[in-house]
Symmetry: C2
Subunit: 690 residues, 2 copies
């Protein structure tokens, strides 16, 4: 993949499908490019007009001049010829934006054309944006290479969208709200250039300070992780990911044909790599507004100043019901200072309620006090346009303090009376949100970006991979035998090499072959058959067997029900706290580890967390704290706590097994039993799948 | 309480504190009243000017003409004299709006003044709005009796707010967005007239079609229920209730001094009585916008039409992750009709994606098809301003269909390009929401109003109250003995009268007095002391006692630890599904019943529901379905289900006990054990508190 600078900052553009007819896409493209003030060289390509009009070329080959970018707006069936023509022309054209629709999004026939497009692109090493895309805008170059005439100002956010329609809406919104963008890139069907290539490019783009991304699917999870890990660490990335629900996935399937991804894993990945997730279009816009002017907050504690007690309460409510951001406890000393300047009835607590009769000077006095010691805390200023409160004057005061507070937001709520104030805030680069809740959601959202870094950086120093000889041999054997589930003894040996406990058990093919001297009653009898993965459903387990005779009876019964030939006898374990821990290799993101409460009602309460490697003990522990069952783990109602380090140990071991043995697709430990009496944890059952 | 028509639609108003100085509140009030076009008679009262200026009266007594309403804007310490003056003047003045602040909201001194105000009001039977309020607007009378100069159009929504600041913001918002109101009433400290009186008044107000209510506390739960039950049944009531979280309650406490209410109960009450709950200021505004022009949807299934696939997916996502509203499954026949007019690549499923190149005619064609068979379903039309889609033309098409769809909403997303379209939608009385998610949240919110009615109506035919003789006698005795917890045998007798099961148990004062012929081992020993409510914490229980000797040992141990003299021996129960069921009498809303899962981790998963009387078996069952444990109750993973009717039976019995015995403040059944083997449920422990 060649670098994309030339594509997004071309000195010369050929428009394939340029047309003198105003309603034609090619014409609109020309107008948008010329209207934007771009300074490069523009060529028109259209065989229809090349005879009559000297400014038109019949094809790309005829052009014979350097063309940094070809913008293609002709019917889909003709696109591939053009690409080939460009690739073979001298000098070679390497960069294309295919605006044309009519590819895989329209069905089988279009998919065939797109497959050919991909082949041609790979053969000739072409960079192609699209097809079926809106094009792109590069405000640094005053270049609007899209078919929408939105006038977007320069800004530090790059918008990247898998939906052209949503991009149009965002650009129109930006024009109205004077939000600036560095780039606006529509990736369409992303045949060649997808989110990953664009993210890598933007990570080095000086004009871009943050990226806002609309995605319906993630093309290559591993590449996505490395692209975001590369760029996201320096620049905030905000994502709105469509298809979170079944209904949404169904809509995507009919809309793009993409297969559904496991959204729980997608979200765990976003969180792990500090990608800011927006829950709705508006939150996406709000996060963009926030990032445009503010830094990611340094502190988790916010200060709220309000002239409307009610709004302050609603803001506190919002924070109370959510994690990640909370109200700063204002120190007594500062409270005293505030009380000195506030009237009776005002509240020096947080939210600081300066009352409905607050003149602008009262805002100034309060913010002045806060500017002394609290400028690194996020500050949110609420206002309703009451008689004594001149909104414009307050906006000007905030403008004065703009540079002192790296995270300063406003929520002036109203309509007519606050219009001028909103313009002033815009001018002073202070984002205003239509409600306190929206402001807080945006601030809280961006905060996740900062939160994640420490964990990643401390864990990237990965351990070297050491192949385990025994494990390796076992897996080779399993592959040879074309099994996809391991026998108990194989699992035991692998676990032993990786230091994961597994309960002692005897395997046998017949009841009479069991060594009863080694059996402690009561015991458990199960099958040990690669063909029987879910023993409960197949009636392949008997619990609480009290003596030899009961064992033999159970053996017969199970044999009859399951036709099993391999059996397993193991002791009943002492009751303790049951956990389920497993590894699965996600199609898109590779291995992830899941741990959760494993009691009788596991599937009812679904109390589990997903760990995305690379993992550290600290990161694992932080996530375990989110389990609902965590209070029990920690020690609940006078009961002793459990050794959470043991869970961490198992999770880390599963991470290593996954990393060192790519053939293993899944591991299920169900249950691992923890004890709070000093006893070491025990796993009662474990399955390893190829 | 006199009727409030005169207060809100006065023919004559006296402004106490009227002033020729522009900056004075009294002057602002006069200007706002005169500026609004109100046609009544206005009197000015201010002793400062009565000598020099003929239009001023020195006091209310001097006026000697009928005054329907006195608007009071003078310092708090002088207000009570004015009220008294008005009450004693001839003709008597009965209606007051006290704008002045400086009452209970400012501390002890102000509280004293407000207490006096209440006394005077009660003595003379005065209607008082406020104090510390904004006043009110009555658009039917062109009367703006507030100190904000917002110009609000006529509309069908009445806004009632406990926060003046929020009301100012809403009025300003309404002015900008041309949202109309019938009334805007600021209730301030609600000393005399609170939400309940206002709701009762509005329920009969012809200009008001729906009520939007901002509340920080509910003054009198029972009155609130009867006020909303009276009016809410006919007119939708939307509430934004501040103080949902601890942080919010803290903010309210410092802001109004109100004591926190149990928010779970408040929410259960809202739901029970079909009050629409808004989660944020914006949702509140959105619900107001929706109600202004639309009916509450008849159907739970929504149809979405979009020219932006991505927005459709995000809308589907939103619905997928929430209950109450879902996408209509469009019948095959209609799909065929849609496919006939839609291009390749479009989706005839729901959301109906008519593609980015959709001209307005395509919207018309699709909505035309829907108008034939689906006009009673809520319809949401999404649009982003793409090249071929003229937003204004689409808005006009929607205008044409406005009257056919009782629930028609739009979400045109963008900025500059959709401005004119938004004006057109406004003109055609179609609410537009800035994002699909906001539209759906508003529609779903309003839907709850319709949902609740059936349950209430079928349960209001309450059973007559029959005092139970035995229960009555027991409670009299307990009161005489000044106990607040009943003995086991008393609880047993009451439960017997109300047909609630309670496990057999022997009470005894000494181990040797126990009738061992009647004891089945293993058994349980507990104290039966009114002084020991929480036996576990006090080590007042011994489980799994296997023989007489163990019983005697346990007896001694417990006696030593607790000094108890009354004991209880009962059999160990067979294990089953444990439930906790209880009744508590809420300070504000009277008896509510709580039922939930009662396993070991009850307090971890907090899986419970609140029932607000009056209850029906049907309503109870519907709510039980919301328990996370419900799949287990119904029969889980091949296990048999439990008799949910038994829970219903217990809940109904507790409702009767609460209704017939106002002295009982609380009942705890913990646990009730359900069985799925035909066995009748059993309760192992129950406590009745006075």
């Amino acid at each position: 993949m060649k670098k994309l600078e030339k594509l997004f900052s071309p000195k010369s553009i050929a428009i394939v499908g340029a047309s003198p007819k105003r309603e034609k896409l090619g014409n609109i493209l020309v107008r948008n490019i010329l209207g934007g003030g771009w300074k490069g060289k523009l060529y028109f390509v259209n065989p229809k007009y090349s005879r009559k009009r000297s400014e038109y070329y019949a094809n790309l080959g005829e052009l014979k001049r350097p063309v940094d970018l070809a913008l293609v707006a002709i019917p889909a069936p003709m696109v591939n010829d053009i690409l080939q023509e460009g690739a073979l022309s001298k000098p070679k054209i390497e960069n294309f934006v295919v605006i044309s629709a009519g590819f895989s999004e329209t069905g089988e026939k279009g998919k065939k054309i797109e497959d050919d497009l991909k082949m041609i692109a790979k053969k000739h090493q072409l960079n192609i944006l699209g097809p079926n895309c809106l094009g792109f805008i590069n405000t640094s170059e005053n270049l609007n290479a899209t078919f929408t005439d939105a006038r977007v100002e320069k800004g530090k956010i790059a918008v990247v969208s898998q939906s052209g329609a949503l991009e149009v809406a965002l650009l129109d919104w930006a024009e109205e709200h004077k939000a600036g963008f560095s780039k606006a890139i529509s990736i369409g069907n992303k045949s060649i250039l997808g989110e990953n290539e664009i993210l890598s490019y933007l990570s080095k783009d000086k004009a871009t300070g943050a990226v806002a991304l609309y995605l319906e699917d993630i093309k290559d999870g591993a590449a996505f992780i490395s692209a975001t890990f590369g760029s996201g660490c320096q620049k905030p990335i905000a994502v709105i990911k469509a298809g979170k629900s079944k209904a949404g996935q169904k809509a995507i399937a009919s809309h793009t044909g993409s297969l559904a991804q496991d959204e729980n894993i997608v979200q765990a990945v976003f969180e792990k790599f500090g990608i800011i997730q927006a829950g709705s279009v508006e939150e996406f816009q709000d996060i963009i507004s926030y990032l445009e002017y503010n830094k990611i907050p340094q502190k988790k504690e916010i200060i709220i100043v309000t002239n409307a007690g009610g709004l302050g309460v609603l803001a506190a409510d919002f924070l109370g019901s959510s994690a990640g951001l909370r109200l700063l406890d204002i120190p007594e000393k500062t409270k005293k200072m505030l009380e000195n300047i506030l009237p009776v009835g005002a509240s020096s607590g947080n939210p600081i309620d300066i009352l409905g009769d607050a003149p602008p000077e009262r805002y100034r006095a309060v913010i002045g006090i806060l500017a002394k010691n609290f400028k690194h805390f996020p500050l949110l200023v609420l206002l309703t346009p009451q008689n004594q409160t001149n909104p414009l004057a307050v906006a000007k005061i905030l403008g004065y303090y703009r540079k002192m507070f790296p995270s300063l937001s406003a929520s002036f709520v109203g309509g007519t009376k606050i219009k001028k104030a909103l313009e002033e805030l815009e001018k002073k680069k202070i984002p205003n949100f239509e409600s306190p809740e929206r402001a807080l959601a945006a601030i809280r959202g961006t905060f996740s970006q900062k939160n994640c870094r420490r964990d990643i950086f401390s864990s990237v120093a990965r351990k070297k991979i050491h192949l385990k000889m025994k494990t390796n041999r076992i897996l080779e054997k399993v592959k040879l035998e074309k099994r996809n589930l391991l026998f108990w003894n194989e699992t035991r040996d692998i676990f032993r090499e990786y230091k994961v406990a597994l309960i002692e058990a005897q395997t046998a093919k017949q009841a009479k072959k069991v060594d009863f001297r080694k059996i402690k009653f009561p015991c458990v009898l199960k099958t040990d058959e690669p063909g029987i993965a879910h023993r409960w459903d197949k009636k392949a387990v008997a619990l609480n067997i009290r003596n030899r005779k009961e064992l033999e009876t159970a053996w017969k019964k199970i044999k009859k029900a399951t036709k099993a030939t391999n059996f397993l006898v193991q002791p009943m374990a002492k009751p303790g706290l049951e956990m389920i821990i497993g590894m699965k290799r996600d199609r898109d993101f590779g291995p992830v580890i899941v741990a959760g409460w494993g009691g009788t009602f596991t599937e009812i309460f679904k109390d589990s967390v997903i760990f995305v490697p690379p993992l550290t003990a600290y990161g694992i522990r932080k996530k375990i704290e989110r389990l609902e069952i965590y209070p029990v783990l920690k020690g609940y109602r006078g009961e002793k706590g459990y050794n959470i380090g043991e869970i961490t140990e198992i999770v880390l071991a599963l991470q290593r097994i996954a990393a060192e043995n790519p053939d293993i697709s899944q591991i299920d430990i169900n249950p691992a039993i923890l004890y709070n009496n000093g006893r070491h944890y025990q796993t009662l059952d474990a399955k390893i799948y190829l």
